[in-house]
């Protein structure tokens, strides 16, 4: 028996996160410690892991650990940066949000950290089993977080729905892995690629591939597997809705990209058709239904469904440009989406969350700073220059045009126009409508404003200097 030689340096980001959640668990035991300390430990731990990931991306790591089970490459590092940025932003907006009601804060941050660890394993997993375990670690933590406010009925409902449909999707995913194992005789991603290269296409592999698409489709909420998303986003605590819409979606796409452009590269003619159809469906259905929503959380849920469709457009390009533009898009999307949710939290009143879009009437005059931030996020989500949303969409569309998917880009462009309608409607309501009644808003909590400021700086910075962010993505498309 040969014990694997482990290079601990290469596992820095993961190890730091493990250490952080252990510290949070221990700190939670002391009654005298203020609960916000737990959030700060989470943020500092994530920041250290983020720093390690950035360093490793710069150093150009390209190796694997645990007998090739875990790829430590720049691709995974780029995604780890996305996850950790999301975790830090979500922890920042959670501090005030949790202080408003719930007392159980230790488990909340531990579960967020465990979900982050699961995402990191999904991005790094070079073996279908590891990807699946990462997916389960992430999903299990998220099911609980979605139903975290037990006394709120919609929250319990969200948790239950997410659990049932998520478990169902995991079944599809696992069955897909089993069939691929049956066809290739291995679950290692590079080995599957080499088996497929010198063999004919067995129906087992094809069936496994389709089941994987269904499994991923559920996890990243593609149409027609998106039904859970609006209910879960609406019912879950708003901070968790922000978290679910950002990191886990990026993690799903990280594994999606690695498996489909590496292991199943030889089956590209088969999967590209499915991806193109799913992309067109996801964008159109997501955007059209979003226009009809009156609840802002549901609107953001459908908009996040639509954004998954844009990422699929990049995946349909199926080349290096496609991968790097998908990576940049996911980074941009995570920052602006968490920003938008943070603004939603800020806009709540003393007597509850006012989530109707009509409640935002007149916000532009009564809360000018908040309205300005929210407007920037929405303009970016719609994809107007000079924001990050424009840059993300631009590179995605360009990669798809270069790959010859002209009509898919036409559909995407039409969808962008549709999405502009419902994003800008909120801005119009904020600045041009008079409120029906005077609402008592929470005071500006400093941290939430700070988070929004960070997100805004990020959105504008990526929008103005895209090459600083696209560059690292472009050199990170090589899988180990």
């Amino acid at each position: 028996m040969t014990v694997p030689v482990i290079n601990w340096h290469m596992l820095m980001p993961e190890l730091v996160i493990v250490l952080t959640f252990v510290i949070v668990m221990v700190f939670d035991l002391f009654k005298s410690i203020r609960k916000s300390i737990l959030a700060w430990v989470t943020i500092i731990g994530s920041a250290i892991a983020l720093w390690a990931s950035v360093e490793m991306l710069h150093a150009g790591v390209n190796g694997s650990q645990f007998n090739g089970m875990l790829a430590v490459d720049r691709f995974s590092m780029f995604f780890k940066i996305i996850f950790l940025v999301s975790t830090i932003l979500v922890s920042l907006i959670s501090i005030n949000y949790l202080d408003r009601g719930d007392k159980r804060q230790g488990e909340y941050y531990v579960l967020i950290l465990l979900a982050t660890l699961g995402m990191m394993l999904m991005a790094s997993g070079n073996e279908l089993i590891v990807v699946f375990l990462g997916l389960e670690l992430m999903s299990l933590s998220l099911y609980v977080l979605a139903g975290y406010f037990r006394s709120v009925q919609v929250s319990s409902e969200a948790g239950m729905k997410y659990l049932l449909l998520g478990a169902f999707a995991s079944g599809f995913f696992l069955y897909g892995i089993a069939l691929i194992y049956g066809g290739a005789g291995t679950t290692s991603i590079p080995e599957i690629a080499s088996v497929l290269e010198d063999g004919e296409k067995s129906p087992l592999m094809l069936a496994g591939m389709f089941l994987l698409i269904v499994g991923f489709g559920f996890k990243v909420a593609l149409v027609p597997f998106h039904q859970w998303a609006p209910d879960v986003y609406e019912g879950a605590p708003t901070t968790i809705a922000a978290f679910i819409s950002a990191g886990p979606k990026a993690a799903g796409f990280a594994a999606f990209l690695r498996i489909f452009t590496s292991a199943l590269e030889s089956l590209q003619p088969e999967w590209i058709v499915v991806i193109v159809i799913l992309a067109a469906l996801t964008m159109t259905v997501g955007n059209v239904i979003a226009t009809a929503q009156s609840n802002i959380k549901r609107m953001l849920a459908y908009s996040s469904v639509a954004h998954a469709g844009y990422v699929l457009v990049a995946l349909a390009a199926a080349n290096k440009d496609g991968i790097s533009s998908a990576m940049l898009y996911l980074l941009v999307y995570c920052v602006m989406n968490i920003g938008a949710f943070a603004a939603v939290i800020l806009a709540t009143t003393e007597d509850g969350e006012n989530l109707k879009i009509s409640d935002y009437a007149g916000l532009g005059f009564r809360k000018p700073l908040l309205a300005l931030f929210l407007s920037i996020m929405l303009v970016s989500l719609a994809g107007f220059p000079p924001t990050a949303g424009f840059v993300g969409k631009f590179y995605v569309f360009r990669s798809a045009v270069d790959a010859g998917h002209i009509w898919l880009v036409v559909i995407a462009a039409i969808n962008t126009a549709i999405s502009a309608f419902y994003y800008l409607r909120v801005v119009v309501v904020m600045y041009m409508q008079e409120p029906d009644e005077e609402l008592e808003y929470h005071a500006y909590p400093g941290l939430l404003v700070f988070t929004l400021l960070l997100a805004t700086i990020g959105v504008v910075l990526i929008g103005v200097l895209p090459s600083y962010f696209l560059g690292p993505a472009q050199i990170s498309t090589q899988f180990f």
Partner: protein, 235 residues
């Protein structure tokens, strides 16, 4: 006569009947008992695949521990027979039936063509030619087994080759027929507990450790959901 196909059909049928019975019974206790039948039948299928350890775990953990827990909860909750609203025939039901049939047909198609183009099929095809010496494909398969189960070529030469051929032969001198038997023997050996233990702590160390984290996440999640909340107003 080879008993394997008969046993496979028997266990497979039993597993299916049990599974249908689980959702068919109105009394939850009967459903739980039917689930035990399915678990046992699955354990039988695992044995047929040479996975003895997994079969034993299946019986001990699933048919044993988890089912006791299930029955306990059902009895504690004192559930009588539950009236489930069966969905009326409608578009949804019709669509479900059609999709189910399509899915079943796909399953049949895959099952019929399953071996086409797979690595296993190629090994079989090349060794079916018979005669000759060990083929490149078989060597590749052996290398894979070797890598997966952390064996050395020496171990195979000294321990397993004598079981299928003359003792002084090494892997390279085997005939194709002998090599096929060797691969089968090795695959059979590998279900043993000792080998699984070795593999879990060497090649599959990472998944093994991650599994413990998943259990921890589940544990923390359950505590977070059932812990007594301090009284507060609901926002």
């Amino acid at each position: 006569m080879n008993a394997e196909p008969i046993l496979f059909i028997a266990f497979g049928a039993l597993a299916l009947i049990g599974a249908v019975a689980v959702i068919g019974f109105k009394n939850p206790v009967y459903s739980a008992i039917a689930l035990i039948v399915t678990f046992f039948a699955q354990a039988g299928l695992f044995i047929l695949l040479g996975a003895h350890f997994v079969a034993a775990v299946q019986v001990i953990v699933y048919a044993g521990a988890i089912m006791v827990l299930f029955l306990f909860v059902i009895m504690l909750l004192n559930l009588g027979s539950v009236d489930v609203d069966r969905p009326k025939a409608g578009i949804a039901k019709g669509a479900a039936v059609i999709l189910g049939i399509v899915f079943a047909l796909e399953g049949v198609y895959i099952a019929v063509n399953a071996s086409k183009g797979t690595a296993v099929a190629r090994v079989k095809r090349e060794s079916a030619v018979g005669g000759g010496s060990i083929s490149a494909m078989q060597l590749k398969e052996l290398n894979k087994i070797q890598a997966t189960y952390q064996l050395t070529r020496d171990e195979i030469d000294t321990e397993y080759v004598p079981k299928v051929a003359a003792a002084d032969k090494t892997v390279e001198d085997l005939t194709a027929d002998e090599a096929r038997t060797l691969i089968q023997t090795l695959q059979g050996e590998m279900g043993k507990t000792e080998r699984i233990g070795t593999v879990l702590f060497s090649k599959f160390l990472l998944p093994f450790e991650v599994t413990s984290l998943i259990l921890l996440a589940a544990l923390i999640g359950v505590i977070a959901l059932v812990k007594r909340e301090e009284p507060k107003e609901v926002s």
